[in-house]
């Protein structure tokens, strides 16, 4: 039990937690992850534009939105990075926002790589 919990913490996604939320439906989780990546692609573009024109309200809103979506899919690391982005927007800190956007992109790539080797259902 404790081993599996520790393992979950290392993974970018907590499968047990998210599957519990959606009734154990792995194909539905796949569908949600596709939506997540599609939404991220659009939000990434908007985020880059917002950072370029220092639109902190937009940075804050995008951070808030990504934080919610990540929390719903039990992507705790991404959730924390999105929170940093939201805070950077609220506190009008452009460097912090740029750094959070970069970390976010790295973590997204990490998640994608992880899911390629560990598709939903493998650990269930």
């Amino acid at each position: 039990m404790s081993n599996s919990t520790n393992l979950d913490k290392l993974r970018p996604i907590d499968f047990c937690d998210v599957l519990d939320r959606i009734g154990g439906d792995t194909s539905f989780l796949k569908e949600l992850l596709i939506i997540y990546f599609q939404e991220y692609a659009e939000k990434k573009r908007l985020l880059q534009e917002a950072i370029a024109r220092e639109d902190f309200t937009q940075v804050c809103e995008l951070g808030h939105s990504l934080k919610g979506a990540s929390a719903n899919l039990s992507l705790s690391r991404l959730q924390r990075i999105a929170l940093c982005l939201e805070t950077a927007g609220r506190e009008r800190q452009i460097q912090l926002a740029q750094e959070a956007a970069r970390t976010l992109e790295t973590e997204i790539q990490t998640l994608k790589a992880f899911l390629e080797g560990n598709p939903p259902g493998k650990f269930v």
Partner: protein
Amino acid sequence: MKILVAEDDLICSRILQKNIENWGYKAVLARSGQAAWEALQDEELRLSILDWIMPGMDGVEVCRKIRRRKKYKYTYIILLSAKDRKQDIIAGLSSGADDYMTKPVNFLELRARLQTGKRVIDLEDKLLVIQNQLKDIASRDSLTKIWNRAEISKFLSEELERGQREKKPTGVILLDVDYFKKINDFYGHAIGDQALLQVVCRLKRKIRKSDKIGRYGGDEIIIILPNCGLTEIKRVGERLRLSVGKRSIRTELDSVPVTVSAGCATSELPGTASADKLIKIADSVLLKAKGLGRNCVVVAGQELEPLGERKNV
């Protein structure tokens, strides 16, 4: 039962939808406050899950708008938010939400909270049914079940206003059972009641659906006739008189001969702008009908040409 899910985040919305549909509800999705508000114009949507942060109008504003509206049945609202500080929860509930849940949503908890909402709505529906029944009881005469004096006076005021707007006359006929006291004294009140019920029954058969009939006093019946002028009311009054008096009323004791006198007035007459004044004029000509020997009809403004047999019972 339909549930509104107002959530701009697509993933959260899909998860909510899937769970809600698994629990047997029908999910109606909205991705902005404005879309939620438009969906809520459907009166069947009584349960709502509103995200606080949404583009444009937020969940709290939707809550406030729901609570400001009057003609709709109660809508049970669960406000969703990532905001979990005490002051946020207080602000959310103060906007009119019934319940507050923080994200990410625990679905066992949401299911239980939706059941609470459904219980509240079911209870409200039951109370509304009882309220309508009580309102109906309070508006009707307990013996004859026709409208009582307060209700029929209200109808008359409304009808007079409508008549003025549409430039159409409104007629009033006051009918009084001739020698009703004697019927009560001779046969007893139970038979008197039966006779009155039969009189009402006969009158109801002779009026239009749009006409309203009420009990104005002890044995006084009032009929309101929309779009009825002096020419028509004369005919209607006579038809009603004949419908009551043409044959005796059978009661459990005896066959009782019953006639009525009628006083008619319409809003075409001067000084009839209010319900009270119109009734007063009808009442004054009813008195004249009584004075002329009963079992007849007198129309205000045409008192010299009473209709009927003018025979006593």
